[in-house]
């Protein structure tokens, strides 16, 4: 196995483009190292991107934030301003693993590991986040929901990697939240996850919303019916019922060691409803 720690994006892309066999990006390593140790993968090339300038930085941009691919969950939390604007994204990222894991784990790693249960992904999707993909041909900004294709598979081409996440400026009276179900209280993988962001008008009527569900399909879902169910409402009980029903209807889960189809369908609705209540309260301030 070859380990490289280039100090420019160009050099990293060059290494990845020319690599034969299996290559992997190393940022926090909280997925990669576990997979290597357990024998799941044996990469021929590991490219550590932490030495590339900007990878560990959070910078303000166009009223929002650009978050480098190697920014850890702990750094994201300590930043403060990101969490103030997009609490759903930060709380979702901070749910991953333990305190120790938070010191290393990154949102981009969570995204590119392409697990349908990734906690930060539905929250980023709900916030309208985009991923900046760098590669041998061009740099492109891609909606987060278009990165993961299926468990363990992404839409990234050979030589490409995600260099940063951009969280746009949140409009006034915007609230976000993420909830997941796990059988334990921490250190677990989402059985169902629900991320939501919404914007209200001055009267408390929801004018825009985005809802994303995790762990109920091969990748995180964007559920437009959920958004429609609450837009135009003040999140009254009828709207919440419509939201829960839409979330359950959209869920297309499997039964496995973590949960059953029936359970995931039901709980998708429960969590969407609960997350919406939190997001609405946050939007009202």
């Amino acid at each position: 196995m070859r380990y490289e720690a280039p100090d420019t994006i160009k050099a990293a892309v060059g290494l990845l483009s020319k690599a034969k066999g299996t290559s992997r990006i190393l940022a926090g390593g909280t997925d990669l190292l576990v997979q290597m140790r357990s024998g799941m993968i044996e990469p021929d090339l590991v490219v550590d991107i932490k030495s590339i300038p900007g990878m560990r930085e959070i910078v303000a941009e166009k009223g929002g934030f650009r978050i480098g691919a190697a920014v850890s969950g702990a750094e994201l939390e300590e930043h403060g301003k990101v969490g103030k604007m997009w609490p759903g994204v930060v709380e979702a990222t901070n749910l991953i693993g333990s305190t120790q894991i938070q010191g290393r784990a990154t949102m981009v790693g969570n995204l590119c590991n392409a697990s349908p249960a990734a906690d930060s992904v539905p929250a980023m999707i709900a916030a309208g986040a985009t991923a900046r993909v760098v590669g041998p041909k061009r740099t492109r900004d891609v909606p987060v929901e278009d990165i993961a294709k299926a468990p363990g598979k992404t839409s990234l081409a050979k030589g490409e990697f995600v260099a940063s996440i951009f969280l746009p400026k949140a409009p006034a009276r915007t609230g976000s939240a993420y909830l997941r179900f796990i059988p334990r209280t921490e250190m677990d993988i989402a059985v169902v996850g629900a991320g939501i962001a919404m914007t209200l008008n001055a009267k408390g009527v929801i004018t825009a919303a985005k809802v994303s569900l995790g762990a109920v399909a091969a990748r995180a879902l964007v559920v437009e019916e959920c958004a429609k169910a609450i837009i135009g409402s003040t999140l009254d009980d009828a709207a919440l019922d419509r939201l829960a029903a839409a979330a359950s209807a959209a869920a297309k889960p499997i039964s496995d060691k973590r949960g059953t189809v029936d359970f995931r369908i039901k709980v998708a609705g429960v969590l969407a409803r609960r997350a919406a209540v939190i997001a609405y309260d946050r939007a009202r301030g």
Partner: protein, 771 residues
């Protein structure tokens, strides 16, 4: 000397015993200095890895190791052929450590390599070609008892024809009658206990409750994976450093499997990062020795977590039927049970103990329990804290909870009404001596937790539990050092703070300070045979032997004092850490302290040491009562344990902190068992959750601080009244939590784990039936 005059058989006043000093191994453990199984290293040592079957059940047609052997850096490759069967060895253990012709479960060892490093060893494993013919498999106990089930050991077990049992004296239970005409051969054993006539007894009942229950296999979940380093010399002398609960067992079993004289193998136990019964047998140890023997170099084998789950012993899964009849006032009139435990691919599930414990808490005139030991394509079960008892208690205590609810009787009162006490003929035979179940029930009822008012979706559960406690072979030495301090050599691995307890008992007996005694766990060549640290036997048995070894030393020290004073030996007594002239000589000489006697030892006859060996009896059972409060989220089925109380009889708590630690540890393991832990098998019979991510033991934030109350009803079998406390604490929690959930939301969980999907489905069932 009149030793007995100041050391009565049952001491009731103590100076050291009952205090809470720091444990002697504490600093090393919290600083990382303590050496665990994987911390031993020898010059030139090789890395050993084991190739394991990817199939639940498969014929091994051939194993080709030639490519692995040819790989540079590989020093030995072994299969079953390198461990030929020895006369008198335990064949099941032999087959379990290395498959012989058939892989019997996912993870069954098939071959092993020793190489210069882990990377080469991993490559070598991939070069071993095994030709498997996959066979039909069975992992469920009920499925394994069906007539068309795949048979694991053709021809080994006599088919059981239930129709012939129909008229036998102890035929029991609906489940047996249902399968009355079936015959099969995965049943390795049948056990019957009880007395009276349950069929007649049930006729007197005002209420009868009977149900079927199932529990899934759970792993002990020790944090330290199995690890050992073996070194076999060219002259056949061998040493083994290993993480185990029983170094003498490891020595004797390995010697037997490998055809060695016991004297040629010396086993040194490491500190142990948890065992809970799972380290009472051998897995990698004979393999490491065989690799070292073939390679001519030391070999270290360390299991991965996945190997621990797939190839070491979880406890049994169980399928049970329990029926209890009661009068309106709550008096039980009859009880009946059928227990079926699968113990993996070999005989030996703990169903016999499960059957003995099932109704042991109660005074029953008519009781019957039939237990079946069943084999399946799962790893060979190993002991797990009170082996067999938590499952049968789950069923029995669940039925009792339902009877109490239906009769409108308080859950503690109904147990008090029927509780076993001194003189009760137990359901498994013996008559109880002094026991403390009633005291635990009374203390639980008086505890503040039992009075807390519950909110919406909250409920309270109660359950009691029993464990026999073991005693057994024990051998202890205590050596007086030149400065009057003492070295205490024990042969029972310290799995729960026992070194501290032994030091306290030695200090108490001598009348000196705790700090003046240092306890070590000796290797197998330094002491006579000691049984495994299991069965909650250590503080009882090694404690008894320590006290007796100290008394032996005291006699010798009094003798030296007599010699110095020139008076008869029986005119000296031991008091407060010194020899005193007694009787007519009282006051004639100043006392000789232990330090003074130690300083003169050489001049008065040589070194001073005490020794004791015994096959101990009289362990004395420990009963417990648990009370827990839970809250259930009705929308998701998520459960939160709000409060949890353990009340248990310790006889005499030598070191109360470690007694409480045992109470708490057992309760938490039980909470994990009832809520989320399970062996989850795929359709192909392979284990789907061989890691701590998806095998969900509780994390700290999942459980409240476990409240404890130590009850002390002295055990007359021990000089200080000690009862073992390590195991009973895991017996009540399964039923205790299930009863609390029932109280909270009206759903009775009879299939474990009671995971959120099951609870939610049950809740929806209840809602649908009301609609």
């Amino acid at each position: 000397m009149p030793l007995d005059a100041n050391t009565p058989d049952l001491r009731t006043e103590f100076k050291s015993v009952g205090t809470r000093p720091n444990r002697p191994d504490g600093v090393d453990k919290v600083t990382g200095r303590a050496r665990f199984g994987a911390d031993f290293a020898l010059p030139g040592q090789l890395t050993g890895l084991i190739l394991r079957s990817p199939h639940a059940h498969a014929k091994i047609k051939s194993i080709d190791t030639s490519a692995a052997e040819a790989l540079p850096g590989v020093k030995a490759v072994i299969t079953y052929k390198d461990i030929p069967e020895q006369e008198g060895c335990d064949k099941d253990v032999l087959v379990n450590i290395m498959a012989r012709g058939t892989a019997l479960y996912d993870g069954h060892a098939v071959a092993a390599v020793a190489a210069v490093d882990a990377s080469v060893a991993r490559k070598a494993l991939k070069l071993i070609k095994v030709d498997y013919k996959v066979l039909k498999h069975v992992t469920d106990v009920d499925e394994a008892m069906k007539p068309d089930a795949p048979v694991l050991h053709p021809g080994r077990f006599e088919p059981v024809d239930f129709s012939t049992l129909e008229n036998a004296a102890h035929v029991s239970g609906k489940e047996e009658r249902k399968t009355a005409t079936r015959a099969h051969s995965n049943i390795a054993g049948r056990y019957v206990f009880g007395h009276g006539d349950p069929d007649k007894g049930f006729k007197q009942a005002d209420i009868i409750v009977e149900h079927e229950f199932k529990t899934e296999a759970t792993h002990q979940g020790y944090i330290e994976p199995h690890a050992c380093t073996a070194s076999v010399s060219s002259d056949g002398m061998a040493e083994l450093w290993v993480c185990t609960q029983g170094p003498f067992m490891v020595r004797d079993v390995c010697a037997s499997l490998l055809g060695m004289d016991v004297s040629r193998l010396r086993v040194t136990p490491s500190e142990i990062g948890g065992g809970f019964g799972g380290k009472t047998t051998v897995f990698i140890e004979p393999v490491a020795l065989a690799l070292s023997r073939k390679a001519g170099k030391p070999v270290k084998v360390v299991m991965s977590r996945s190997e621990v789950f797939r190839a070491t012993g979880p406890t049994s899964s169980a399928s049970m039927w329990v029926k209890i009849g009661a009068k309106k006032d709550g008096t039980f009139v009859a009880a009946d049970a059928v227990l079926k435990y699968q113990g993996g691919a070999f005989p030996g599930s703990p169903v016999e103990m499960g059957a003995m414990c099932a109704f042991a808490c109660y005074d029953l005139k008519n009781v019957r329990i039939v237990g079946y030991d069943v084999v399946t394509n799962r790893p060979k079960q190993a002991a797990y804290r009170a082996p067999g008892a938590p499952m049968s208690a789950f069923a029995v205590e669940g039925v009792i909870g339902e009877i109490a609810d239906k009769l409108g009787i308080d859950a503690i009162d109904i147990r008090l009404k029927n509780a076993a006490k001194e003189g009760t003929v137990s359901s498994y035979g013996p008559t109880f001596g002094p026991v403390g179940l009633v005291e635990t029930l009374e203390a639980a009822k008086a505890h503040k937790n039992y009075k807390v008012k519950l909110g919406k979706n909250q409920g309270r559960g109660v359950a009691s539990g029993f464990w026999f406690n073991f005693a057994g072979n024990t051998c202890v030495s205590i050596n007086l050092n030149v400065d009057g301090t003492l070295a205490l050599a024990l042969g029972t691995v310290d799995i729960g703070g026992s070194r501290a307890s032994m030091c306290l008992m030695a200090a108490e007996e001598l009348g000196i300070s705790y700090e003046d005694v240092r306890a070590i766990i000796a290797d197998t060549s330094s002491l006579g045979y000691n049984d495994i640290s299991e069965g909650s036997r250590v503080t009882f048995s090694s404690g008894l032997a320590t006290i007796k070894a100290v008394r032996d030393l005291k006699v010798k020290m009094c003798g030296r004092a007599a010699k110095i004073w020139g008076i008869p030996e029986d005119a000296v007594k031991w008091e407060n850490g010194a020899a005193h002239p007694a009787g007519s000589n009282a006051g004639n000489f100043p006392p000789l302290s232990i330090k003074e006697i130690a300083a003169q030892a050489s001049a008065t006859g040589g070194p001073l040491a005490g020794h004791y060996e015994i096959n101990a009896e009289g362990a004395g059972p420990s009963f417990a009562t648990h009370v827990c409060d839970v809250e259930v989220d009705p929308d998701t089925g998520a459960m939160k344990v709000l409060r949890y109380l353990v009340v248990q009889d310790a006889g005499k708590a030598i070191h109360p902190s470690y007694v409480e630690g045992q109470f708490q540890g057992g309760a938490v393991q039980g909470i994990g068992w009832v809520l989320n832990e399970e062996y989850f098998y795929g359709k192909d019979g392979t284990l789907q959750n061989a890691g701590f991510l998806d095998y969900r033991i509780p994390v700290c934030s999942d459980v409240p601080m476990i409240d404890t109350v130590i009850v002390e009803v002295p055990n007359p079998g021990h000089p200080y009244g000690v009862r073992g406390v390590g195991e009973t604490s895991i017996v009540p929690p399964l039923a205790c939590v299930a009863n609390a959930v029932s109280d909270a939301i009206g759903v009775r969980a009879r299939t474990l784990p009671m995971s959120p999907p099951k609870v939610l489905a049950a809740l929806e069932g209840v809602a649908a039936s009301k609609a």
